[in-house]
């Protein structure tokens, strides 16, 4: 075999993936021919035993109302909840725990900013910028707030290779721009966007920036102070945590001027018959009984990531991505979207095969226990820009192993033999 520059010495990394894989009970349910090749990690990751145990322990040992009881157990539940907040806040470098709001999801976090903050700062004729690669969650809320206020929604377009075309977004930092919302990593293209470059110039122009970090937190280093973003949204379930909980980080002055979307218990200071005042942060933005088990699971996912090391996670995933990109790009009739340079990519690869609908590929894959995604990935505007209705997407986590790339390649071969017989 000739020396292939894409295949490095990988023995240690392979060994590490195998070890990490052992932590994930769902992946170990299947063995031999039935082995599950879970390559749908950008949609949701699997959960390690450590996180499952932490959630189970919450209900077995800690469960009591948060911020509401005066007995010892209620104290413990409150302390544990706030410790979880601190853990997650520290993980993204938030200066204060109170700047980390627990939400239902990254989607809710973004909606809160659109309706609770931006709506009160927008006038007709103002401009809000997004990019042509946004997930619907980081697009539709801005569409609504622009419609409601008469502001204009503008798009940073993409270059041929799926990078942001910042050079041609000449009006991005203009006087009319009131807000910029962009994803850190595209859930389709896998491309890592130069968010720092945008926040720096936006800060000079006094324009707040929200970063949708759903695909980046827990995968690549994210530090809100270093990024200097005004808001950052992410969720637990894409970083080995439970579903049903997300987070919103905000700069102190932004959160202070944010109106709560949900009103009710826990978020109030004084409630009169006709008027009420709001509690201080973070309670103001967390109406209703807090999601204690979710917060504990979220924090334990952070613990888990820290125990492996973000750097290890990154190098495993980047190794897999590099190999997959190389192997895939050698297939006849394949089109891979986004930059091919694995340095500018996360572990997400979207592609199409000539003459085969993505849905058909995903089903054939499913029959071989290869879990990949087909569809528009909640990115219809991006699909239009790519000139596609859908793509196939494979996405990696540190528990994926090299033979799973081979399983994907076999699936593609099968699909081609069925749909494109020689």
């Amino acid at each position: 075999m000739s020396t292939n520059p894409y295949i490095k010495q990988t023995f240690n990394i392979q060994k590490q993936s195998q070890l990490i894989r052992k932590d994930f009970p769902l992946l170990n349910l299947y063995s031999g021919d039935n082995q599950l090749h879970y390559l749908d990690n950008a949609a949701t990751s699997q959960k390690p035993q450590q996180v499952i145990d932490a959630i189970s322990d919450c209900y077995q040992r800690v469960n009591a109302p948060v911020h509401r009881g005066l007995y010892a157990l209620a104290d413990e539940s409150t302390t544990t909840y706030e410790k979880s907040r601190k853990k997650v806040a520290q993980f993204i470098g938030a200066p204060q725990s109170e700047q980390l709001i627990f939400t239902l999801s990254a989607t809710e976090s973004i909606n809160m900013v659109a309706q609770g903050w931006l709506k009160h700062h927008l006038n007709a004729g103002d401009k809000v910028w997004v990019t042509g690669m946004e997930h619907h969650a980081n697009l539709v809320p801005w569409q609504r707030v622009c419609k409601e206020t008469g502001a204009e929604l503008c798009f940073i377009e993409l270059t041929e290779d799926g990078s942001l075309d910042l050079d041609n977004a000449t009006e991005l930092y203009s006087e009319k721009t009131r807000f910029i919302a962009m994803s850190h990593v595209s859930n389709v293209l896998g491309v890592i966007n130069p968010v720092k470059e945008v926040t720096q110039r936006a800060a000079q122009a006094g324009i707040p920036v929200l970063i949708d970090a759903t695909q980046s937190v827990g995968h690549i280093p994210v530090d809100v102070v270093e990024l200097d973003c005004d808001f950052l949204a992410f969720s637990a379930h894409k970083m080995y945590g439970p579903t049903g909980i997300g987070a919103l980080y905000g700069k102190a002055d932004k959160l202070a001027t944010m109106e709560p979307m949900l009103l009710g218990g826990g978020m109030v200071d004084e409630v009169g018959d006709y008027e009420s005042s709001w509690a201080s942060l973070p309670s103001k933005l967390e109406a209703g009984s807090p999601n204690l088990a979710g917060a504990i699971g979220f924090a334990s996912a952070v613990d888990y990531i820290e125990s492996i090391g973000l750097q290890t996670i990154e190098s495993i995933v980047s190794e897999l991505t590099e190999k997959a990109l190389f192997a895939l790009s050698n297939i006849n009739g394949i089109k891979i979207y986004g930059p091919l340079d694995s340095e500018r990519r996360e572990g997400i690869i979207s592609f199409n095969l000539d003459g085969i609908h993505p849905h058909d590929i995903a089903q054939i894959a499913g029959e071989s226990n290869v879990a990949i995604r087909s569809g528009h990935h909640c990115c219809q505007p991006l699909m239009r820009r790519l000139g596609e209705v859908a793509t196939v997407r494979a996405s990696f986590a540190p528990y994926n192993i090299e033979e799973e790339i081979n399983a994907l390649l076999e699936v593609i071969e099968t699909a081609q033999s069925i749909f494109m017989p020689r």
């Binding site: 993505p358 849905h359 029959e367 569809g375 209705v389 069925i418 749909f419």
Partner: protein
């Protein structure tokens, strides 16, 4: 069940050589069916002959299942009365939702769809054309 049985020769034949696949712009009644989840997007065009389907065509793009099902549908309903089509559509839905079992397809020409009954995720692909045709008839 293997992939090859799912994409039975019949399905693949309909996908590769769709019957009655042509421009719908000349049709008397047209209805679009789309499934944004997977990107199937087709149009069904019908010319009625009294109470019956005189001519039916379709165009658009979609996965193999969607295209094959639309193609089979055009063959199955040509000449049928509106009521017959509505009944057949309902029977097809019920049969598909049964998922498994020995019940034969409501029409011999549709037997190849049997292989898909175990995949609830493909239900929409199979029924997209039928739903569109049903809408045309219900509006008429």
């Amino acid at each position: 069940m293997t992939t090859n049985t799912v994409y039975k020769e019949v399905l693949m034949d309909h996908y590769r050589n769709p019957r009655n696949f042509s421009d719908v712009s000349q049709s008397e009644a047209v209805h679009r069916g789309s499934n944004p989840r997977c990107g199937d997007d087709i149009k069904i065009g019908v010319d009625f002959d009294g109470d019956n389907i005189g001519k039916i065509v379709f165009q658009g793009r979609g996965c193999s299942v969607c295209m094959a099902s639309a193609s089979m549908m055009t063959e199955s309903v040509t000449g049928a009365s509106k009521n017959e089509v509505l009944e057949l559509t309902e029977q097809l839905r019920e049969w598909f939702d049964e998922k498994q079992g020995d019940t034969p397809a409501p029409l011999e020409t549709l037997f190849a769809l049997d292989a898909l009954r175990q995949y609830p995720a493909r239900r929409r692909c199979v029924l997209l054309a039928w739903d569109a045709l049903e809408s045309i008839i219900q509006v008429e």
